[in-house]
Symmetry: C2
Subunit: 406 residues, 2 copies
């Protein structure tokens, strides 16, 4: 198979459309999304950020979700590192970093999921997502601040994440050992964590982590015979024919697809990775795109049986964000007009239905038919991450294209 990357496809891409998109995503990020959150969300009194806000920005809760504190710190430092060295972004990243470091670890070094405004712990969960986002936040902030000590802290956290992911460090399981299952979420988050650390402070473990996680996804979760990416499987990739085992999360699998396409881009267009990422996108677009109303559905059953999770046919903001990235990346890396068409479809659906034209940013939760289910812009699960990351990532890809084209 021919190696494909942005350099190779430049001549067959629709340059005018991509230029238009570059301006679109850049404007949305800098003039619409970021101004909704900053500077007002910085908590100068207690540290960290106050993100639980209603549509027009009023606070609905002063609590702080640790993973979103980490994600926002990562975003601010990343903007500083890659878009413009604005002092206000660096300073805001510092405030998040210090809150995370000071309040969000328990005595054993495990990170909380949820703390109050002052940093008192509310809830510990049996996941290590707080750690993965803190690791990339610390790494990005270490680069922005040029601080080697913070880089060492990021590497330490990255090591803890690796230990959790490979089982060297155990988290109390939610399930009995009767029917072992593993989720695609762990290898996915480890790819993203390692990629972000590599792009900021680098670490000798990154390439190996990424390669082994991609291999695990391809071997155990991607099912070419039924054109599907599973969300959970048995230890050897077995499909588990029970409600949980059959439940697919198309937006999540599509996020995994673009992590792999991003790796292909890093590896100068590695054709096997382009092929894998595009297959994952193809399979889950087919299963997740709502042909009746548009947008990516939340959950589907692999055999089209009823899904148990109540919100299964709602449209959440983040699966749309991941699909916007994946379709754009697939288009610029392959030149296949199918992906341009999909990108146009998802971009139009998402900005038509989720974008709050009055106050900026996106609503998070729509009914299947596209009507708004609730108005919060931020809560324990939503904050300045998927949308600004999507707008930032697309802008960066399109800038790369522009610079080659010129």
């Amino acid at each position: 198979m021919k190696q494909t990357n942005i350099k190779d496809t430049t001549e067959i891409l629709d340059a005018a459309y991509l230029k238009e998109l570059e301006v679109f995503y850049s404007d949305k990020l800098l003039e619409d999304t970021l101004p909704f959150w900053f500077p007002r969300s910085i908590d100068h009194e207690c540290g960290g950020y106050l993100f639980m806000r209603d549509q027009e920005g009023t606070l609905i809760d002063t609590d702080k979700a640790v993973w979103i504190q980490g994600r926002a710190c990562w975003l601010l430092a990343t903007l500083y590192n890659t878009v413009e060295q604005k002092e206000e972004w660096l300073e805001a990243a510092r405030i998040g970093y210090e809150f995370l470091k000071k309040y969000c670890f328990d005595a054993n070094g495990k990170m909380y999921f949820h703390v109050d405004r002052q940093g008192n712990p509310i809830r510990m969960r049996r996941y290590f997502f707080s750690e993965t986002f803190a690791a990339i936040a610390f790494a990005a902030y270490a680069k922005a601040a040029g601080d080697l000590n913070i880089a060492a802290e990021a590497r330490h956290l990255f090591g803890i994440c690796i230990d959790y992911a490979n089982g060297a460090k155990l988290i109390e399981p939610k399930y009995e050992p009767t029917r072992p299952m593993k989720g695609i979420g762990v290898p996915m988050i480890m790819i993203n964590t390692a990629q972000q650390i590599r792009e900021t402070i680098n670490d000798p473990r990154c390439d190996q982590v990424i390669s082994s996680c991609i291999a695990e996804i391809e071997k155990d979760f991607v099912k070419d015979d039924i054109r599907c990416v599973m969300e959970q499987v048995g230890p050897q990739g077995e499909i588990i024919d029970h409600i949980d085992g059959r439940t697919l999360n198309p937006g999540h699998a599509i996020e995994g697809a673009w992590f792999i396409l991003h790796e292909a881009r890093y590896r100068n267009g590695d054709p096997d990775l382009v092929d894998l990422g595009c297959r994952m996108l193809d399979y889950m677009w087919e299963r997740g795109w709502d042909k009746e109303y548009g947008g990516i559905l939340y959950f589907k059953d692999v055999y089209n049986k009823p899904v148990q999770e109540y919100w299964q046919d709602m449209k959440f903001w983040w699966p749309q964000n991941e699909t916007i990235i994946a379709t754009l990346l697939a288009y610029v890396m392959t030149g296949d007009p199918k992906y341009k068409h999909w990108h146009q479809q998802i971009n139009q659906y998402a900005y038509d239905h989720f974008h709050d034209k009055t106050n900026g940013e996106w609503f998070g939760y729509l009914h299947r038919d596209g009507t708004i289910a609730q108005t919060a812009k931020g809560n324990l699960f939503k904050g300045p991450f998927h949308l600004p990351r999507q707008e930032w990532y697309c802008m960066q890809v399109l800038k790369e294209f522009s610079s080659i084209k010129l």
Copy 2:
């Protein structure tokens, strides 16, 4: 205040309407709901019941939710005890009782939440709802079978539930101690557990448990100043102004209302309890009834801020079941035509939208606008409980009315 009970209100009630309802609920229970589940759900091979079924009855999963195994065993034994001494109901109850006893307890006597078809454990949860439903199942089956040993087992389980409820026995908490909260679910389930045990095998602890739980609900959860029943509060009944603390569950509070009206009925129309139950119903009908589409909404915020739970504005089957019981009971106990009107409204909405005219039983999950979100009749959370209990309970109340009237 005047003591009110069915005897007192007989003359002012709409007897023709109530007779029509008696036939309606009896027919629905015996000709429509029960035949959907039985006999096909009895697992003669492995014991217990196979309830995870799609709309027309095909099995979507062979797993068994322990609380629903208990609820179904309770239902079958209760039908035997109160409706007709059918051998098939007694035998089906026995099969559930034996599965619960043999497979659903861990080595420490704590009950699982979820087991597989053979009874191998899948998941333990930090709740004691499996225990409360097993307690009433064992009690009802002990009465049906006339077995004093099983009655002793039920009493033992009831004692464990009491210990969990009052903190003598601890369950590992999900939250850190920073912001203590308690839910209305514990006193509610204890009222119902004690009422069912009292009505089957009786136990000297029942009246005291019921009285203290009702007192706790009235003191800490019912807020007359804002016409509201809280779902969670601080230890002294404080409203906790964070997302979780503000989240109301109207159908759940209305279930609590009818447990209290049921207690009033048992206590010969205790006017304070009638008043308390009716206030709870009034407050949560006002907050939970969807004036636009009809039906009881799932969650509301006490101050009408955005609710975090994704399915907040969906219509689930069980809040409708609880509201059908509560409005009927309020009507027959007070004679207030408002409750007759509400009962007509909720009965019509529910049987129009949830009832599966083709296959019997109800769909479980509707979108806010009444369209069907998914077709499963049974899963980890839905089985033969709320709907048949509602039809059975209403039928029993209406039979009592008929017998007084005659």
